[in-house]
C-alpha cells in the first residue's frame, strides 16, 4: 500500500507491505522516522481530536477543546458523540478537563481557550 510521509515537506512516497511474523516492510522512506510513521499508520493511526463544547454563562458561546494526547483514529467519532449534549459552566480555563477518559481512550478532553464568566452589571 502506498503512503505519503507527512513528517517533512519532502513527502516521501513509501510502500508498506506486511512482512513475516507481524513485521512491516517499508520501502521508499528517506529516513528512519518515516519508517516509524508508516508502521504506526498501518497498525494504529493516532490523531488528536479538536472540537468545541457549549458553555453556559460565559463570555463566549463555545469553548474550544482537544484530547490531551492523540487517540486511535477509530475512536474519533465515538469520542465526538460523547460531546453531544455536553454543556460546561463558565469560567473555563485552558487545560480544564471537560471529559475524562473520552471514549475509553485514556485521554481527557481539555479546554484550549479561556472563557470567563459573564458578570451582570
Amino acid at each position: 500500500m502506498e503512503l505519503i510521509c507527512i513528517l517533512c515537506p519532502r513527502g516521501c512516497r513509501m510502500n508498506v507491505e506486511p512482512g513475516g511474523d507481524g513485521q512491516w516492510e517499508v520501502k521508499g522512506n528517506g529516513c528512519s522516522r518515516g519508517k516509524g510513521y508508516a508502521v504506526q499508520e498501518m497498525t494504529c493511526p493516532l490523531r488528536t481530536l479538536t472540537t468545541s463544547v457549549w458553555v453556559e454563562g460565559g463570555t463566549h458561546r463555545l469553548v474550544s477543546a482537544k484530547t490531551d494526547r492523540s487517540i486511535p483514529r477509530d475512536k474519533i467519532m465515538e469520542a465526538l458523540k460523547q460531546t453531544k449534549g455536553l454543556k460546561v459552566k463558565a469560567p473555563v480555563n485552558i487545560g480544564d478537563v471537560l471529559v475524562e477518559n473520552i471514549a475509553g481512550t485514556g485521554a481527557n478532553l481539555v479546554a484550549t481557550r479561556k472563557v470567563d464568566k459573564v458578570v451582570l452589571a
Partner: protein, 490 residues
C-alpha cells in the same frame, strides 16, 4: 379594508405609494418578497437617464424626462445619493456618428436640455481613460447616477412614515371582484380588501393582470448581467459611458456608482423564466469585452461581485400605464423597463392623476393631507461623516463606535437603525442594501456572522432562521453537534 392596494414594492410601487401618501387614503403595499426592491429595482444600472434614447411621443419619453428633472428634489427630500455626472454616448464609426445625430434630434424632441456632440479631443479631455480611437460622443449633462435600491427603500420609508402600510412576504395568489365593486385580494398572508388596485408587479404584472381577467399584454423578461469593481477603480471614468444603442437596449455601459465603485453591464438576453437571475460565463465575458471597447484600461480582476437583473419588457415596448379595460378601478403600471428608475418619480404623479380621474367618475377625488411630511432622514452614515459628526454620533449611541463591516466601514449603530425602521430590514440582504454592510471587497466574509448576532439580539430571530433574502435562503442549517447522529460514522 383599504382604499388602495398597490401590488409590488419595487421603485414603481414605492413611488406610487409615496405619492398617494400625500392624500387622505388608506393605502397598503403587498410585496411577495421579504423586502422592497427585490426585483428589477434591486439589480439595474442605477442610471437616471437624460431621455434622448426614447422614441418621441411615447409615455416612456415623457416620463423619463419628467422623472429625471425631479431627482434633485427626491435626493433632497428623501436623503438619498444622486449625482448628475452626465453621460456620453461614444461613436466609433461613421454609422455611429449618424446614430449620435439621430439620438440628439430625438433628445431635443423629448425636451432633453444641453445635448451636444463633442469631438474626440474634447471627450478625451473630459475622460482620459476612454478608447482613444473614438470619433466623437454625445454629451448629455442631465444624465445622473443614483442607488436604485436606496431610492426604493427611501420612498417606501417615507410612504410608511405617512401612513402607508407595507406587507412584506405577502404574495398575491388571486383577486376576486365582488358585486360591491371591491377587490378581494388573496395573499400568502391573508386576504385584503381594496376599492382600487394598482398593479406594479414588475416582471409578474401580466400574471397579476390576468387575475382580473385582463390579458391585454404580456411581459417578456430580458436579462442583463453586470460586474461591480472594487472602489479602487471608481474614478476610472467620471461620467456614464454608453455605446451606440443596439436593437436590444442601450448597450453595455461603464459608470461610476454613487457609492464609489465602478459598474459595467448589462448584456441583453431574452429569457423564458421570470426568476432566472443567474449570471453566465458567456454573459459576463460579453459584458467585459464590450466594456473594454469603451475603456481599454479596465482590469480583468478586481471585480468584487457579479449580478443579473431582469427588465420587464411589454408588447409594444412602451410603458403601460392606464386603467384596465376590464375594470377601471384596476390600474396597470406595467412594462416599466429601462428607463423605469429615471421615470419612477414622474410615474408616481402620473398614476395619482389617473387615479384621481377614475375616482372622480365614481364621485370621489384625491384630497391632500395637510400633515404629509415629504422628508425622510436616511440612516446616519459613519463612513461619510466628518470626525466631529462621528464623535457626536458615538456620544449619543456608543454603537456608532463599533465598526462591524470593515470594508465599507459600517457601524453597529447603523445596522441597529436599519433593523428597526419601517419597513424593517428582516434579512441579511435587506441590512446590506440599507447600510452597505457586506457590500465591500470581502463580500460579507468578515461581517456576516457578526450581523447575524446583532439580528438575533435585536429582532429575536434565532440564528438558524436568519435568511439571506427570505424564504428558503437560511444561512446556517443547524447548531453544531446537531448532525452527529447515532449513524454518523466514517
Amino acid at each position: 379594508m383599504f382604499d388602495i392596494a398597490i401590488i409590488g414594492a419595487g421603485v414603481v410601487g414605492c413611488s406610487i405609494a409615496r405619492e398617494l401618501a400625500r392624500y387622505k387614503l388608506d393605502v397598503c403595499v403587498l410585496e411577495a418578497k421579504a423586502d422592497v426592491a427585490m426585483g428589477s429595482s434591486g439589480a439595474n444600472s442605477g442610471i437616471v437617464h437624460a431621455g434622448y434614447d426614447c422614441k418621441p411621443g411615447t409615455l416612456m419619453a415623457r416620463l423619463n424626462v419628467a422623472g429625471n428633472s425631479l431627482y434633485e428634489d427626491i435626493a433632497r427630500e428623501l436623503d438619498v445619493p444622486f449625482k448628475r455626472n452626465g453621460s456620453l454616448v461614444l461613436a466609433f464609426t461613421d454609422d455611429d456618428m449618424s446614430t449620435l445625430k439621430r439620438l440628439m434630434e430625438q433628445g431635443i424632441k423629448n425636451g432633453v436640455n444641453g445635448l451636444k456632440i463633442l469631438p474626440a479631443e474634447e471627450v478625451l479631455k473630459m475622460e482620459p481613460n476612454l478608447n482613444p480611437s473614438i470619433k466623437a460622443a454625445l454629451w448629455a449633462p442631465t444624465g445622473g447616477i443614483t442607488s436604485p435600491f436606496e431610492v426604493t427603500i427611501a420612498m417606501a420609508e417615507n410612504a410608511a412614515d405617512n401612513g402607508v402600510q407595507f406587507y412584506l412576504n405577502h404574495a398575491v395568489l388571486s383577486i376576486q371582484r365582488h358585486s360591491d365593486g371591491k377587490f378581494h385580494i388573496e395573499t400568502s398572508g391573508g386576504t385584503f380588501i381594496a376599492r382600487y388596485v394598482i398593479n406594479a408587479a414588475g416582471i409578474n404584472s401580466d400574471l397579476i393582470s390576468q387575475m382580473v381577467g385582463d390579458d391585454s399584454f404580456r411581459i417578456h423578461p430580458r436579462k442583463g448581467e453586470y460586474c461591480l469593481y472594487d472602489k479602487k477603480w471608481g474614478s476610472l471614468v467620471t461620467s456614464t459611458i454608453f455605446q451606440p444603442p443596439s436593437g436590444l437596449g442601450k448597450g453595455v455601459l461603464v459608470t461610476p456608482t454613487v457609492d464609489g465603485n465602478l459598474l459595467i453591464g448589462p448584456n441583453a438576453v431574452d429569457i423564458d423564466q421570470r426568476n432566472d437571475v443567474d449570471t453566465t460565463y458567456d454573459g459576463l465575458s460579453f459584458v467585459y469585452e464590450k466594456a473594454l471597447e469603451s475603456v481599454p484600461l479596465l482590469p480583468k480582476n478586481d471585480v468584487i461581485t457579479e449580478f443579473a437583473g431582469l427588465r420587464a419588457i411589454a408588447d409594444g415596448e412602451d410603458f403601460i400605464i392606464r386603467p384596465s379595460r376590464r375594470a377601471e378601478e384596476f390600474i396597470q403600471v406595467a412594462g416599466i423597463c429601462s428607463p423605469g428608475l429615471s421615470a419612477a418619480p414622474a410615474i408616481g404623479r402620473y398614476v395619482a392623476s389617473i387615479l384621481n380621474g377614475v375616482m372622480q367618475r365614481n364621485g370621489h377625488r384625491l384630497e391632500p393631507k395637510r400633515d404629509f411630511n415629504p422628508y425622510r432622514k436616511g440612516i446616519s452614515r459613519f463612513s461619510d461623516a466628518d470626525w466631529h459628526t462621528r464623535e457626536e454620533l458615538i456620544k449619543k449611541d456608543q454603537r456608532f463606535g463599533r465598526i462591524i463591516c470593515r470594508c465599507e466601514m459600517v457601524t453597529e449603530g447603523e445596522i441597529v437603525q436599519a433593523l428597526h425602521r419601517n419597513p424593517p430590514a428582516l434579512t441579511l440582504d435587506a441590512v446590506k442594501r440599507r447600510t452597505r454592510a457586506g457590500m465591500g471587497r470581502c463580500q460579507g466574509g468578515f461581517c456576516t456572522p457578526r450581523i447575524m448576532e446583532i439580528m438575533e439580539r435585536e429582532l429575536g430571530i434565532p440564528m438558524e432562521q436568519i435568511t439571506k433574502k427570505g424564504d428558503g435562503s437560511r444561512i446556517v442549517l443547524g447548531k453544531i453537534k446537531d448532525f452527529l447522529g447515532e449513524d454518523a460514522g466514517c
